[in-house]
């Protein structure tokens, strides 16, 4: 391997990890909902799309930086999530039907409505938030003049990555240190036992759905400085979130973080060495591989190690 090849590889790995950090945030939202409610939220990507549009509106009309928009978009999506849970998902959980997958199909319907309503309001044009730091980057040669290879670190990507880490730590703190967080984890572990211990399970479900939506909305705000925005972008992110949760292990937060990083790096490698158009196929190749070789995801590996000790 000569210097150029090393450079390309390292650069690919860097962008993969940065992308993976944001993917992890999307995956955590999905895995939380999955763990507590045992349903798959197929409107997850669409909720993220709504978060991105909130950031776009704030930027275009009020000149609020997308990173600050996180603090507006996350509460907004929290309430949207709570409303969806209270008025649509809870009634369906009570209805008796032949197919138990009704809730999943319901979330598809919600996703369709969200995407279509956004299309009607904003048209299906490609939009973006032209922030002035979008092309800013740090270069290795600026700090180390005689560096044999040249690497760059995009400013926007790095800030988004740090934000993602910060949100993840805050979430970890919430889930492990506060009473409400403990109640949510108890509900995820055993619904009935939590109910018997005096946890308001219905309320915890609502909060979890809101929290999952808020997380993915925040991820949307962090994506928007680098991405174009269009109403049908949600679908692909729903799939990404799902692949991450399978990769990480269903309902495992740590698994989702690791799964997000693996997926980010893998996608980045596919895009560099095989071709941009094939990146989605690479994504699903790893998904299929995970199903065949590691059905429990990364979480099962972690668990095995803990048991071994």
């Amino acid at each position: 391997m000569n210097a150029v090849q090393v450079e390309v590889l390292l650069q690919t790995l860097i962008s993969g990890i940065l992308l993976g950090g944001l993917y992890a945030l999307i995956g955590i939202g999905m895995t939380l909902i999955m763990g507590v409610m045992k349903i798959i939220n197929l409107a997850h990507g669409e909720l993220m799309m709504v978060g991105m549009y909130v950031a776009y509106v704030l930027f275009t009309f009020f000149h609020i930086d997308p990173y600050l928009a996180v603090f507006f978009a996350a509460p907004f999506l929290f309430f949207l999530g709570v409303l969806i849970q209270k008025f649509l998902i809870t009634p369906v959980l009570k209805v008796d039907s032949i197919l138990p997958e009704n809730q999943v199909i319901l979330t598809v319907g919600i996703g369709m409505v969200l995407a279509n309503v956004v299309t009607m309001i904003f048209k299906s044009d490609y939009l973006s938030t032209p922030v002035d730091y979008a092309t800013k980057a740090w270069y290795l040669t600026d700090y180390w003049r005689d560096a044999p290879i040249e690497l760059s670190l995009s400013f926007a990507w790095s800030v988004s990555f740090l934000f993602a880490i910060f949100i993840t730590i805050a979430l970890w703190f919430f889930l492990s240190r506060t009473d409400m967080g403990k109640s949510i984890r108890a509900t995820a572990q055993d619904n009935d036992a939590a109910l018997l211990m005096g946890v308001n399970v219905g309320r915890m479900r609502m909060i979890t759905f809101g929290l999952g939506s808020a997380l993915v909305g925040a991820a949307g705000c962090l994506f928007i400085p680098m991405y174009y925005l269009y109403p049908s972008l949600g679908g692909q992110f729903t799939l990404i979130a799902f692949v991450i949760t399978i990769l990480g292990g269903l309902g495992s937060t740590v698994g989702a973080i690791i799964g997000g990083l693996i997926l980010g790096v893998f996608e980045s490698l596919t895009a560099t060495y095989i071709g941009m158009g094939w990146a989605p196929v690479g994504r699903f190749a790893i998904f299929v591989a995970a199903l065949v070789f590691l059905p429990g995801g990364v979480a099962s590996l972690l668990r095995r190690q803990r048991l071994g000790k």
């Binding site: 032949i98 009704n102 999943v104 199909i105 598809v108 919600i110 409505v113 269903l250 199903l291």
Partner: protein, 313 residues
């Protein structure tokens, strides 16, 4: 009487073209019957066997592309695509089954969703074989009049109906329902659940693929965005069955009738066309909350509602 009802419907449907309907009406009817075929195929897997697939576009598109590629690369008539798609889609179903049937319930649904997307991206990127986004155009059409296409799709629908009726009323059908109701219990009774799930997936996939092969011949043009569409194929397939009635013989037909006409009506009202996904989504939500087993499946419930409405002033 009940025994001959399907024959009666078939006879009725085969005289409809003699009424001299307009070309547009014939087109709509052909679409309704095609969606009935896809819905019945999905219903076998989703309704009877309980494996909800979100990726039937994969089978539909593969059937369509089998016909398209036979015509475009080998110079054969695209009609050969219908028998050829049976073999191709059966192989695809086996592969999909091997991967996705390890998953249960909602996870299976998402696995198939991913397969649908993989197929679309593959068709878009294998430009040498599929022409990519340009699509495949069948240059010479077999017939100009719609009537022949109508009878062919009616024949396909009749065969599909017969296959599903035979399967559901045989031992196989009871295995499927047992798997739907409780997979572990079925397994413990000695039913080879993996085998029967694969059988259901293959049958369902092949029937959908045949409909796809017909679509290529009928429309004369396919591209990956149309035949592998997530919302407009996979989700509409589910809606056809959900609206009509899960695990019923006539549900898919009712569902297809409602969905196709609804789509056409929405499209024809100016200003509302852009909102058709919203209306579909709302319809889906309403159906799931109020009629979770579909119109045909919840007939007793509907009767009760209307009787109550009649009694109370």
């Amino acid at each position: 009487m009940k025994k001959y009802f399907p024959l009666f419907v078939l006879a009725l449907l085969s005289v409809i073209p003699l009424l001299g309907l307009s070309t547009y009406m014939m087109h709509i009817l052909i679409l309704v019957i095609m969606w009935t075929v896809i819905g019945m195929a999905w219903n076998l897997l989703g309704g009877y066997c309980g494996q909800v697939s979100f990726g039937h576009a994969a089978f539909y598109g593969t059937g369509a592309y089998t016909a398209g590629i036979l015509y475009y690369k080998l110079g054969l008539s695209a009609w050969w695509g219908i028998p050829a798609s049976i073999a191709v889609v059966a192989i695809l179903s086996l592969v999909v089954g091997f991967v996705c049937l390890r998953l249960r319930g909602p996870y299976f649904a998402l696995g198939t969703l991913a397969i649908g997307v993989i197929m679309r991206v593959t068709a878009e990127n294998l430009v040498d074989l599929t022409q990519g986004d340009l699509g495949i155009l069948i240059q010479e059409r077999t017939w100009v009049e719609k009537i022949w296409y109508y009878y062919i799709i009616l024949l396909i629908a009749a065969v599909t109906f017969l296959v599903i009726k035979l399967v559901v009323e045989s031992k196989l059908g009871y295995y499927f329902v047992a798997i739907r109701e409780d997979q572990d219990a079925a397994e413990s009774l000695g039913i080879n659940t993996t085998l029967y799930k694969i059988v259901a997936l293959c049958l369902s996939g092949v029937l959908t693929g045949v409909a796809g092969g017909f679509y290529t011949n009928y429309m004369g043009y396919i591209d990956p965005g149309v035949v592998f569409a997530l919302h407009d194929i996979s989700i509409v397939t589910i809606m056809v069955v959900m609206v009509g009635g899960v695990a019923t013989y006539w549900g898919p037909a009712i569902g297809a009738l409602i969905m196709v006409f609804l789509a056409e009506i929405i499209r024809s009202i100016p200003g509302l066309g852009a909102a058709h996904h919203t209306l579909f989504g709302i319809l889906l939500i309403v159906i799931i909350i109020f009629l979770p087993n579909g119109i045909v499946g919840d007939i007793p419930k509907l009767k009760k509602i209307f009787r109550l409405g009649g009694v109370s002033p």
